[in-house]
């Protein structure tokens, strides 16, 4: 069955999830994986669903976005990509003064090591920028990666730590 990738984003208000979920339910869309969160006052939904065709889902969402500031996109995507873990789970914490290029520089170092990001959040809190990333690393690369991250972090004047993620987390 084909899957749809849907995003909805707009200024936060009560009822966005209910409106979107209801519209999709009416055309038989079954929501599978999703993240829905508030980003600096904007509410952002990213979800995968199965059931309706792309045009059906777009038509269902049209009334929800018609007179408001919400923006929705619907895209048909292939069946679930099989992604087997490439290695061991690690957590990277970064914090420091906000400046341009922190995410790009550090994620480039991760990518060059063959690390695969599986989850990443950033938060700007006053002058403090915080980046938290969960990454799978090829076996045996963590030590060298930690050194290269420390070098990149020093150039950005931010702090970075890389540590093994608990696999037995409650």
């Amino acid at each position: 069955m084909s899957e749809l990738a849907i995003t909805v984003i707009g200024p936060d208000r009560p009822g966005i999830v209910a409106d979107v979920a209801e519209a999709l339910a009416e055309v038989g869309a079954n929501l599978t994986d999703s993240t829905m969160t508030r980003l600096r006052g904007h509410f952002a939904m990213t979800l995968i669903c199965v059931g309706p065709s792309g045009p059906e889902a777009e038509a269902a969402l049209a009334p929800v976005v018609a007179d408001g500031p919400l923006v929705a996109t619907v895209r048909q995507v292939g069946a679930e990509a099989t992604s087997t873990p490439i290695g061991e789970p690690y957590l990277m914490s970064v914090h420091g003064a906000d400046r341009l290029g922190i995410v790009s520089a550090l994620t480039r170092v991760l990518a060059e090591t063959g690390g695969n990001l599986t989850d990443l959040t950033t938060r700007l809190s006053g002058p403090l920028y915080v980046l938290l990333a969960e990454v799978e690393l090829p076996p045996g690369t963590a030590e060298g990666l930690a050194e290269r991250l420390a070098e990149a972090a020093a150039r950005l004047d931010v702090e970075v730590t890389l540590r093994r993620a608990d696999s037995d987390m409650l």
């Binding site: 938060r123 006053g126 915080v130 938290l132």
Partner: protein, 187 residues
């Protein structure tokens, strides 16, 4: 003394620190001193005793504050104050005390818990900490060596403050990409 025995603070109280201490301003991240390991200190040095008194005084006037480390007031030294008395999560408590050159020598019973920090005022995070620790340190003003055995919230506070003295914030230990939260309650 057996390995797991608490030798307590003996007759040490904050009165050992002499004057009442002054309130210092608490720095917030990002600032370099919070990310640098503090220096070992001489627990009998006048400036260390004064710093200890100031940490207690500053902790006392800060609502909800159960611990304060020297880097948070801009001093790169391994000194911190703790007082978890009366906190609802407290099990064992040693009252108000200040430790110098403290280190965790035993840690067990790891648990996730939510913690905040005066130096990261708008965020909290889920951090895995030992809920039972043995800490060795020396006391300011007397230089006496202590070995504290504690648990629960006091154990968490000690690990948080010892981390400060090593240049670590709770942000360096949070449990996952979604384990940091905008603070909802300010005391």
């Amino acid at each position: 003394m057996t390995a797991g025995q608490d030798c307590g603070l003996g007759d040490w109280t904050t009165a050992v620190l002499g004057d009442r201490g002054g309130v210092r301003s608490v720095l917030t991240a990002p600032v370099g001193v919070l990310s640098r390991a503090g220096e070992q200190v001489d627990p009998l040095a006048d400036d260390v005793v004064r710093l200890a008194a100031d940490l207690v005084a500053t902790m006392r006037v800060s609502p909800g504050c159960v611990g304060l480390a020297a880097p948070q007031v801009g001093v790169g030294a391994r000194v911190f104050a703790v007082d978890v008395t009366g906190h609802p999560k407290t099990l064992t408590s040693h009252g108000t005390f200040v430790l110098c050159n403290a280190e965790v020598v035993e840690a067990s019973r790891w648990r996730l818990g939510r913690e905040g920090c005066m130096s990261v005022p708008d965020l909290t995070g889920d951090v895995k900490r030992a809920s039972r620790v043995v800490v060795q340190a020396v006391l300011p003003g007397t230089g006496a060596a202590v070995r504290l055995v504690t648990d629960g919230f006091e154990a968490r506070a000690l690990q948080h403050e010892i981390d400060h003295c090593l240049g670590r914030l709770f942000l360096d230990r949070v449990a996952g990409a979604h384990a940091v939260y905008q603070r909802k309650v300010y005391l």
